[in-house]
Amino acid sequence: MTSSTLRCRSVTVRYGSNPVLDGLDLELVGSETVALLGPSGSGKTTLLYAIAGLLDPDHGEIAIDGTVVAGPGVSVPPESRAVGMVFQNYALWPHLNAIDTIAYPMLRQGLSRSEARLKAERLLRLVGISDLADRLPDQLSGGQQQRVGLARALATEPALYLFDEPTAHLDAGLRTALQQELVEQRRRSGAAALYTTHDASEALAVADRVAVLRSGQIVQIASPEHIYREPVDVWTAGLTGPTSVLKCVLVGSGEGTIEVEFAGSVSRIEGGSSCPPGPATLVVRPEWATLGGDRSGIVEHLTFEGPHTDYTIGTGHGSIRIRRAGSPRLQVGETTQWSLQRGWVLAASAEVDGSEPVVP
């Protein structure tokens, strides 16, 4: 049985009377990576700071590798917690060059200057910036700065990494490259990681499990595939990827299939449900529906995104977004056929009026 690397129990942090974390529970096992996905203000950074020891929770308990580091009467200072952190704004020291920055944690561990520099050089090579050793932060690009930040976190050789939106300030191409770098280095080090982001695709890409944070609580934690296919509610569905939300009636459900009535006709499709038959909410990802088939609608909107095109089809009972590879083949206003392939049914909720696709 694998042991728990991080355990948060009913962690509460208030700013004034306003709870930012509200009785949060979270456990990381072995060397897994958990992505903490939530909109800004949901408490992601606050949770990382509480785990790192940069602020004390008002209530609850935090244990790292089985040792309680924060709780009633306990507050282990950050330098004794053995966590490595990569900051959103890089937090590089403006007066230290890359190699001195990376050597810093090892100096604090009591290594001699020469030993620390030797190890720091190895880490610089590892993150691919050995030619930038003498540069100060303001002489480095955003991506290079974050590589230094990553190497500094690696240098602490922690049991747990905390990544605080490490790619938020980078442009798209660099973001993917750095994501892969982070995943790879983390995997090699064999330590667990908690990775915050507000970007669904990033969360799904980097994590073994995704935890969805809303108003200081975790509303769902599951594998990326599971959370994408079976979001716990409409809000989570919208947060975890492009989604169409439609009013439907759940007629019946079987092993991996559901029968839904939508716009007057019943479809038997792949999928599942989290509620009993009756009036319900149908969640459809763009690739769960195809053009051509038994239903008709009018093209309301086209979005060409390179590899694929998203078609927004008006059905008369709300709009549905359908993704198809290649360039646009229809025009706005044209009538077209479409069909449902897959769906996920949630209990009917008041916040869905079925008229607009939910697009984050």
Binding site: A52, G53, L54, F87, H95, R108
Partner: protein
Amino acid sequence: MADRAASRFPQSGGWLLVFAAAAAVVVYPLFELARELVTVGRSSIADTFAAGGVWVPIFHTLWTSVVATAVTLTLATAVALATASFSPRKRILVVVGMTLPFLIPPFVSAMSWVAAYGPGGLLDDAFGLSLPGLIGSAGVVTLLVVNATPLAYLIVLSSLDARTERDLVRAARVSGATPWEALRTVTLPMLRPALIAAGAISFIMSANSFGVPAVLGTPAGFGTVTTRIYQDLVLSADPAAFDRVLVLAAFLAAATIVVIGTADVHSRGRIRLRVEPSGPRRGSSGGTRWSARLITAYVMATGLLPFVALVLMSITRGVGLSPVPTNWTLGNFEEVLDSGAVGAFGTSLMLAVTAATITLGLGSLLVVLERRRRSGVGTAAALSFAVPGSVLAIAVLLAYGSVLRDTVLIILIAYIAKFWALAHRPVSGSADAVSPEVFGAARLCGATPATAARTIVIPLLRSALVTGWLIVFVFALHELTMSSLLHGPGNETLAVSVLNLQQLGEPTVTSALAVLLTVGAALAAIPLLLLRRAPVDAGRAQ
């Protein structure tokens, strides 16, 4: 094209005005001073040194300034670091408490310390306690520290605020640094430019201070360069004395230049900072209660209690009486009115209003002009503020003394030279924060340049304009060093009247006048404190 041609004429007129003003109030007088020094010649200077009376004040000025600077830096940094960890509400109280002494003129705070801690002072009267050495070198150093601390504190604090310091310290802690190691390896190195600037300013303020040594040094026979200049220029009829004044002024100017030059070289921007959003402000808050208590005690002991003692003395019937209600009187204030201080008040008020208005006009004009094209005038104005008051006064006297000696106008010239930078800085700082896009966006919305200036730029700069005017007004109202050297019979400034009364040995009447001066200036400065609350952030947001 036509538009540009039309706007060229008033612009070159503006430059002409700015350059002429800078030449008349700063460049020409300093040139005259330098010429006079050359004329006096090397042999005469050597004679002056040989004759004595030069080395002792120079030595006194140097060591008191060095000690005061060291203490000020330590104190200001410690309090600033503590302040940065306070909650916003507590923080405001501490900042106001620490900077309020700035409103008390240095010579008045020296007098108030005597009233509180001197022999026969409030504590002596109540508990038989008085500070030994308050009249003398120890007192001079202490009051130099008290006077330089507010500014040094503000410089260090704003440097702490300007950076993502909190996240940088957090990064150090997560990297395994103890709080002390994080302070030593991250916070202090990053504060280096601010510490150098604060140190340089503390040293210059201390070396140039006249009020403090005049009140606490002179009675004990402890002379500094500035008090020596005053005695030689105003009280002495000895012709050799003027050579000594020139030499001492040259020394003060040289010391200032060396300190500024050194500071500039050492603080030059190796470290550039990008300000990025920082994480939550809240942190672990151990030990802040203790530091808050210490700071409160400091503010009470150095500012509040002495000033209360001064106020009590001003309403006490006579020297040596306990400041209890039975001995209270308003007679001292009546005596102030009889002593001709009303005229001095008029002179000071007139000087302050005129100097503030002219410097703000020149400063704003310079800001507008420099938006199109940089020039050295802004830097020159900033540097002329660092020129010691004694030196500037002598320079202005040499340049215009033959015509304007003993008139109010010659004081006004010195004030404009000295305070130009004070009016220019807030306006230019605020204007830099207003991005050009703000103006352009207004133009795109259909505003003419004049409308855009009136509806967008002026409102954004309004608090800076008011700040600039009020700062000059308060400083001019307080001013002692230059007016003590330049005033003639019948046009004493308020500060000079206080000093004269003090030297006549009438502590109760002197305190009454000092209280009036301070309260008047403080009332004028209240809007300043309120304005600080509303910084212009527009145009800086990303």
